[in-house]
Symmetry: C2
Subunit: 316 residues, 2 copies
């Protein structure tokens, strides 16, 4: 049996046919054309589904269900997109539309960060652990909480907004209206901001050379690359980032004590150079220091396919 996973984004719809082991046997990408409205997006998703099934050499009867990972808040029980800031959904019955357009009756929808966490739990690095949290370091910080193998959505499907945990009320303003949200201090975006601030103070930093003396070319890798080369300014940025990342992770651990936290998103590509110092701080500063059961902190496994695989695992 196969599962169809849809990774819905503001620009592209990625569709993948996934097997029982979580392997993608076929995938294809289509433009979302979001400006044409909710019904059009539903049609584009249905088209992407049918094209991917055909591309995989299968037919609809081979597909157990369709799973859709979407930005925004999804009522996963009723299959309704409650709200989305990047797509024109407002209480939109997405599951029903896709089912009627494809003839495949079981259509699950879920917030994309939640779906990615479910993917890591079903087929990725958190497989075999009943409780896990996935933390995705990107433009913001996305998160998904898995309890007892299931996505924890809260009573209104809006839980796990881990990026909007304020960790410093004197911190940078966030579009959510508060100041010092975790994602303003420990996302890829904040890594870039902190690098630019440090570069402004340190004209001798190797970071300048690494980005061709062009501040607009600073990316989340810049301070890590510089730090590896022995650059003090780069190391200072990495240290500050590690501090804020650890701070939020310890908060999550003190609150929820998951068995494992998987770190995803581009910044997680830094691997042990990032995670080793994080683990040291977490080990030292977490509240529970007794007993031998401590939360594991690891790199997520699914990478760019997390959306498709996560969506395809929604019915498991």
């Amino acid at each position: 049996m196969y599962y169809l996973g849809i990774d819905l984004g503001g620009t592209f719809i990625k569709a993948g046919v996934v097997d029982e082991k979580g392997g993608i046997i076929y995938k294809e990408s289509f433009e979302t054309e979001a400006e044409k409205g909710a019904d059009h997006i539903a049609e584009r998703i249905a088209f992407a589904c049918l094209a991917a099934i055909r591309g995989a050499g299968l037919s609809a009867k081979d597909i157990e269900y369709i799973g859709v990972a979407s930005p925004g808040t999804a009522d996963s029980e009723k299959g309704i997109m409650i709200y989305c800031s990047s797509l024109p959904f407002l209480n939109y019955p997405l599951s029903k539309k896709i089912a009627s357009l494809t003839g495949i009756n079981d259509v699950y929808i879920e917030n994309d960060a939640n779906a990615a966490a479910k993917g890591e739990s079903s087929h990725g690095r958190a497989k075999g652990y009943a409780t896990s949290i996935m933390v995705t370091l990107g433009t913001g910080i996305g998160g998904g909480i898995i309890i007892g193998g299931k996505i924890y959505e809260g009573f209104n499907f809006a839980a796990a907004e881990i990026g909007h945990m304020v960790i410093d009320p004197q911190g940078p303003p966030c579009q959510c209206g508060r100041k010092g949200c975790w994602e303003k201090l420990a996302s890829a975006t904040s890594l870039i901001r902190m690098s630019r601030e440090e570069m402004a103070k340190k004209p001798e930093s190797l970071m300048w050379g690494l980005c061709g003396n062009d501040l607009s070319k600073v990316d989340a890798k810049t301070p890590f690359d510089a730090s590896r080369l022995g650059d003090e300014a780069g190391a200072a940025v990495v240290e500050k980032f590690v501090f804020y990342l650890s701070l939020g992770l310890i908060n999550l651990i003190n609150l929820l004590q998951p068995e494992i936290i998987t770190i995803g998103g581009g910044v997680s590509g830094e691997g042990e150079y990032l995670l080793e110092p994080v683990r040291k701080i977490v080990e030292k500063e977490q509240y529970s220091r007794y007993g031998d059961k401590k939360t594991l902190i690891v790199k997520a496994a699914l990478g760019n396919d997390a959306g498709i695989i996560g969506a395809a695992s929604l019915g498991l």
Copy 2:
């Protein structure tokens, strides 16, 4: 049928016989005598149980189970006290000891803040809500998370340390080793500290008169009483406290979206004078502003009996 609830503290053991509706039909208090060691505490608890059963005019066969709410970390599955900073427990088989000393075989143990949350969920203000969080504002901030009617303990029984969520890395140092934990900014203790700081700056504040010009007599009620009388300095302390309390509550809501949060502990006695401004901030600043399902924030119902009733509800 009746349930025996034990509220174990560093100084007193409170024992109560509780009926099926959560009403205490008899209660009595005994000294813990903690300095005499773990075995002695277990004996004191067993003695308190038997005395309370006798005092209620019942016999052991009328008691469905014994529940013990203890500070520290309890392995509720194995009935073992893993660790406690205020009592001499280290991997101590408390349930088994109490069972053998009382002849009552079913003995549940649980962290006291978790037990109080379970009590509010079973018999208090959170009754009828599947997901709830209890926040106890006392010397520190205690917390318990209820998901699907059950205590959420994390995989190592150490979850729900909500007071040790850092919300300001420039904040006061905490005995846990970090700075700016929520309980350093929004507990009764921090309310007293903030009052004293404000009084030092404002010799004209009514707070001075309310505590007989004696800084050691400032308590958590002082700034509230002053504020109600129109004192600017008192109002400034209350405003600051409301800010930090709301900040942590919004973090919890953004993460977990419980149906209801119950606020307990002495400070919750301020009632709507505290909760109304808190709700205004939470309503305005929580991340999820769409949909009509919002977390309720209310005063807890069980008051000083939360420990006994919570312990007595552990097996429900």
